[in-house]
Amino acid sequence: MFWYKSWLDTRWRFLAAFVVLTCSAVLTVLAYPKVVMLLPLVPLEASIQGGEIGRRIREIAELERTYRGYIWVQAFRQNLTQMGVLFAVLLGTGGLLPSGSKDTALFTMSLPASRPELLGARVATGLGQLAVLAFAPALVFPLLSPAVGETFTLGSALVHGACLFVTWTVFFSLALLLSTVVSGVWVPALIALCAALVLAAVDQLAGGLSRFSIFAIMSGETYFRTGALPWAGLLASGAAAAGMLSAGSWNFARQDF
């Protein structure tokens, strides 16, 4: 029953995330015919200003000339990645204290369950929600693409969904760990989001190394460009998430209520 309580505590955050991410995926697909019409209007490569911004615009224009490239740029590299991190943090925030109040936890802590059991139910519910949030929007692409006369393979959708899920667990775990250290709901969320911003900034400054960043793994860039799964990155993300969850569990086991 503890999973049920965790579900009740987080259901509105989850449902909001589900609606936003799924709608984002649907709109991305439905906007494609318009993008196809507008693409010829994009200036020739030579006429675009040089520098990093120019390079990026050229890259996006180039990638979006194919439907697969368009979906990857708009959805997996941009919308789902950015919004997903935010929602993963929000789902992980609060730990066992959905209202941010220790008083609410007193009832929970007085029930016949060990702390690992309590945290386990919370983590399992959160990971289940993250899996739905990662795979549902990804599956929109193979299901809805025929409506705009295009195809997107189920395999690609599943791989991208897996990349989103595994990397989002890092931010979910970070928020959960911070919730065992810092009280309240918003402070752990803000710290976790600041950490994500720092990682994103490093990613932007890293140049050639950015393809090894967590955001590159999240977007499935290696898979998109080469067809190879980013095993090392996924394993490293999984290990980081497991490490933070273990630290959170250790901390929670020693907490006084």
Binding site: D103, L106, S110, L111, P112, P116, D256, F257
Partner: protein, 299 residues
């Protein structure tokens, strides 16, 4: 042989950020008793309860509940399976309604009493579909009590169960507690600022002050042993030293000398006669007076 004490603490200490919440608490709660746990704000009552339920770990000393150690993960779960706790704030899950809250709690206790659940839902007039967050303080208290009473617990730990309630609801809660214990034997360990509540239903009390047990025992014994002895003199009361056992306070005011004895009045009166007072009055002492004398004495 079964342990005669459901709760036992020995030299229990807890320090929070440099503050000593408990400073060597010794407590023995007999099985089957209704045990009133009295103390001023910040005396360490809630901390003690949290330690007994494994929510907080003691800095040193020993706490045992049903002979088990609350701080041990496995034994703590066993304790919480047999004990019910109602916190001072009556914390419940605001995301649930009354029926869901009852279902959730019932699912965790195999000895859940469905008959009592129906009885208390009716008696407390709790609307099953009402959201927890819309309940008044009185209704929350009643629901929290229902959740504690129906789980078939051997021990009820109640932190200020009647705080913030109007007299009618307070009476209803106290009556429900007494009726429950009469029907299904259990030990009740409850803290309160309402000395009248403790006086009404408790058979044992402990008064703690600054994390230490100041007074503990059966309420009848305390009522029998505590005596106020008032000596009135024709002239100014003399400055006398009383060596009789149990004399805890001597107050001199004009012609009157007032003594508080924790060991009856016999020997004190005998010693007082030597001072040749005009009159000697021996009065019983109420629990409120015992409490006030105890916590004031600690100052």
């Amino acid at each position: 042989m079964a342990d005669p004490f459901v709760i036992e603490t020995v030299d229990l200490r807890k320090r929070y950020d440099g503050v000593e919440a408990l400073q060597g608490l010794n407590l023995q709660v007999p099985a089957g008793s209704i045990f009133g746990f009295l103390g001023r704000n910040g005396a360490g009552k809630t901390t003690t309860m949290k330690i007994l339920l494994g929510m907080t770990r003691p800095t040193s000393g020993r706490a045992r509940v049903f002979g088990l150690t609350p701080g041990s993960s496995g034994e703590g779960v066993d304790i919480r399976r047999r004990a019910a706790f109602v916190s001072e704030d009556k914390s419940l899950y605001d995301s649930m309604d009354v029926a869901a809250m009852v279902r959730f709690t019932a699912s965790l206790f195999p000895r859940w009493r469905a008959d009592l659940e129906r009885q208390y839902l009716r008696a407390f007039e709790l609307p099953p579909n009402a959201s927890i967050k819309t309940l008044s303080r009185g209704m929350r208290t009643k629901l929290a009590l229902l959740l504690a009473l129906c789980r078939g617990a051997d021990l009820l730990i109640l932190d200020e169960p009647t705080s913030g309630l109007d007299p009618a609801v307070t009476e209803q809660v106290l009556q429900a507690l007494v009726a429950h214990v009469a029907d299904a034997p259990a030990t009740v360990f409850f803290s309160s600022h309402q000395i009248a509540d403790v006086d009404q239903i408790a058979d044992h009390v402990a008064i703690i002050d600054r994390g230490r047990t100041a007074v503990s025992g059966a309420l009848d014994d305390l009522r029998r042993d505590y005596r106020r002895i008032q000596l009135v003199f024709d002239d100014t009361a003399p400055e006398a030293v009383f060596t009789a056992p149990g004399v805890t306070h001597v107050r001199r005011s004009g012609r009157v000398l007032t003594l508080l004895s924790t060991a009856g009045a016999g020997q004190v009166v005998e010693q007082a006669r030597a001072l040749a007072p005009a009159s000697i009055d021996v009065c019983p002492v109420s629990l409120k007076e015992i409490f006030l004398e105890t916590v004031n004495a600690e100052e």
